[in-house]
């Protein structure tokens, strides 16, 4: 056993860390550190910096503009990006549609769409979930009916993350309502959001923020050339997409970052007359979480090593999703608790800066905690992940 990275990998980490330190704009880092909402141009600015360096599309092959990293290198970059408080990369184009087109798309689709993802010309969003098809995604009802050289789309998508910034949406749609099984008769199709008949409505979330939307389709006419892969073979694409980018599912970098910020906070927050860092109850919870995180870090590396050796992915990614989200949510909860009564104002930045009772980076701790309840719900809820693990343990 050797739990260390190779000297080459350590050198790579050093290079990545220096690049982020020198090139991530201060105002972006402070926004991310304070959990303040990012504007569209904040995301675009950071992605342009990475694009210029050739580091944007971590998971793409070199011939399509990827950096040609190994899975371990990708893991290192994801970890360092979190630790640097860089904006999250918008995954829909880079980690979802990109890999799908590279595997299933036509040459024409690859040629026209991939470069526009890289240079930021197009912002993609995802049209999977529907009101009746959440965890049970195969139950989706949105239809695409062939009419000459077009498809006509009718239905509703929901939980469309950052759809308000998007130019394009990739959707799962039902092309054969008569199919024997719900998974059959589904297709994967690309839609320009400028097309007539599309309406996007904001959904305000529990924390008062706005990042998800409903999208309504009424007789939306889309060229048949926008179909990706075969008609009625969309489920295969959806499954490929869900299993493709699993190296960062545990969010180890985010957890490590939040843990160290929490330790700093604990040193300057008081409870019952003492710093929290001297409070046995608080520190016991913090240390338990750190232990869980250390174990998860190694579990994550074991999965990574396995995938480097080409072994097929088992239910480990589901384990990482569950554990990773629980640890992040616990850290959010402890951060909120560390502030005591001062966590209560909403929104925290409603107070003039000279009246803030907490440091600006902690002002939104309660809002962040409530917003991140989503982590165990989206991307296949933790209950669904448990079903996947159970199926594996009991032999299908």
């Amino acid at each position: 056993m050797d739990l260390t990275f190779t000297p080459e990998e350590e050198a790579f980490r050093h290079e990545v860390r220096s690049f982020f330190r020198e090139n991530l704009p201060d105002d972006l880092r402070e926004k991310v550190r304070g959990n303040r909402p990012l504007a569209k141009e904040d995301y675009e600015r950071w992605q342009a910096i990475l694009h210029e360096k050739g580091w944007l599309a971590a998971s793409w092959p070199e011939r399509y503009g990827g950096p040609g990293w190994t899975a371990t290198e990708r893991h290192i970059v994801a970890e360092e990006m979190a630790l640097a408080y860089a904006p999250r990369l918008v995954a829909f184009g880079l980690n979802m549609l990109g890999p799908v087109l590279i595997k299933f798309g036509s040459e024409e689709q690859k040629k026209t769409i991939l470069p526009r993802i890289l240079d930021g010309s197009d912002w993609w969003c995802q049209g999977y979930s529907e009101p009746g098809a959440g965890s049970d995604l195969a139950n989706l009802k949105t239809t695409a009916t062939r009419d000459g050289d077009d498809y006509i789309i009718n239905g509703q998508k929901t939980w469309t993350t950052l759809g308000q910034h998007a130019d394009k949406i990739f959707c799962l749609v039902r092309t054969d309502p008569e199919a024997a099984k719900p998974q059959e008769g589904i297709s994967f199709i690309l839609v320009d959001l400028e097309t007539p008949g599309i309406e996007m409505r904001p959904i305000r979330t529990i924390d008062g923020g706005y990042e998800v939307n409903e999208v309504f389709f009424t007789d939306v006419r889309v060229p048949a050339a926008n179909l990706v892969g075969e008609e009625n073979a969309g489920w295969t694409i959806a499954k490929y997409l869900l299993t493709h980018e699993r190296t960062n599912i545990a969010g180890v970098g985010f957890a490590a970052r939040d843990l160290s910020a929490l330790k700093e906070l604990a040193a300057r927050s008081f409870r019952n007359g003492k710093p929290l860092s001297e409070d046995p109850l608080f520190m016991a919870e913090l240390m338990r979480t750190e232990i869980d995180l250390e174990a998860m870090r190694i579990t994550n590396l074991r999965v990574l090593a396995e995938s480097e050796s080409g072994a097929a992915g088992g239910p480990e990614s589901s384990m990482l999703k569950i554990k990773g989200t629980v640890i992040l949510q616990k850290l959010n909860s402890l951060t909120r608790q560390a502030l005591g009564a001062a966590a209560a104002p909403f929104p925290a930045d409603a107070l003039p800066p000279n009246l803030l009772t907490v440091a600006p980076e902690n002002a939104s701790a309660a809002a962040t905690y409530f917003n991140n309840r989503k982590l165990s719900i989206f991307g296949g809820s933790n209950e669904i992940q448990r079903n996947i693990i159970a199926k594996d343990l009991f032999g299908k």
Partner: protein
């Protein structure tokens, strides 16, 4: 043994429930709770007219209740309705004033003519009186009170301050206040005291303040129990309606067990709140109130998190009433000492 409420308390809770249901339909509640002044002064007066504030103090002080169970009767309904009125500050203030024999003020508060707020918390001092730094000099106060519930728009702020080594209580009428909404709705404010004129109510009243804070903690426990009942009922309803994989999600045993665990914790929370209420006037008051605040804090967080999770994405939306119950349930732990700070108190006393 008899756990049924008295006829008077049952009538109070029925009346109050009807009034709150009519007065705070969900959209009205949200508008009131998140827009200044973060509650309805008219509704507050109507609540006073219903006798809600009179229930907080004993007859000899001008009220008609004052026992632990009177407080829990009112606040359980406040919790059920997610009512944003600043009654917590009123409760603590009117009880402290009653203990100090300030009958004039008590009567006016009971009648709803003046609305008080109770200011103990400071940026460096939680609910611990030992850490209070606000200083009195003659009839002037200097210091800062933070996250004071109901400070915005109140007529009178009772301020705990240091006076020659003791903790004194003052009445402040013209403080500089910066108000804001809370994460879960309703208002609070920063109270900035800079040589601010104040009326001395008592030179040394640590025990009076502690008793008022414990009454407030009991009220928060009852409020949480009321809110948890509603949250559980909403979650069960949703699970019966929401279909995934061809059947209602209520049919999945793994999810049923989680609802069962929630139900058990709610009953535990109800029981410890009853226990604390029964000791409010006794010598073990602070011990049982601390136990209640700890258990209720834990249970409320569990109910909040589980109810959001079992609702899936819907539970994350502002439009859904359950989201606001979920927030209230978690944020109760940020008022008047968290579950863990009360556990520490119990450990120190053991």
């Amino acid at each position: 043994m008899d756990f049924t409420p008295t006829e008077d308390r049952r009538m109070l809770s029925d009346t109050l429930r009807r009034f709150l249901t009519d007065s705070y339909p969900f959209e009205t509640r949200n508008k009131l709770a998140y827009d200044p002044p973060y509650h309805s002064p008219e509704k507050y007066t109507e609540l006073a007219e219903l006798g809600v504030i009179g229930a907080f103090v004993k007859e000899d002080a001008g009220g008609f209740g004052g026992e632990g169970f009177d407080i829990t009767t009112v606040f359980e309904e406040i919790g059920r309705a997610l009512c944003p009125e600043p009654l917590l500050g009123t409760l603590m203030s009117v009880r402290a004033l009653a203990d100090l024999g300030k009958t004039d003020m008590v009567e006016k508060i009971i009648a709803g003519e003046i609305r008080p707020a109770f200011a103990v918390f400071e940026p460096e001092a939680g609910e611990r009186l030992d850490d209070i730094r606000t200083e009195a000099s003659g009839k002037k106060l200097t210091g800062r009170k933070s996250v004071v519930y109901g400070a915005e728009g109140g007529d009178l702020i009772l301020v705990a301050a240091r006076l020659s080594g003791n903790i004194a209580l003052y009445a402040v009428r013209d403080a500089e206040i910066s108000g804001y909404a809370m994460m879960d709705g309703a208002g609070a404010g920063e109270v900035l005291l800079d040589n601010t004129e104040a009326e001395l109510l008592s030179e040394d009243c640590r025990e009076v303040i502690e008793a008022a804070l414990d009454a407030g903690r009991l009220a928060l426990c009852a409020e949480a129990v009321g809110a948890m009942d509603v949250q559980q009922a909403m979650t069960i309803d949703y699970m019966k309606q929401r279909k995934q994989f061809g059947r209602p999600i209520a049919a999945f045993q793994a999810l049923q067990h989680r609802i069962v665990d929630m139900a058990i914790e709610i009953e535990q929370a109800r029981s410890i709140t009853i226990l604390a209420a029964s000791h409010l006037g006794g010598e073990h008051r602070s011990r049982f109130v601390a136990m209640a605040k700890n258990l209720v804090g834990r249970a409320a967080e569990l109910i909040s998190e589980e109810s959001v999770q079992l609702h899936g994405g819907i539970g994350m939306t502002w439009e859904y009433p359950g989201a606001h119950y979920a927030k209230r349930l978690v944020m109760i732990d940020h008022q008047l000492g968290s579950a863990e700070s009360h556990l520490l108190r119990l450990m120190e006393a053991a």
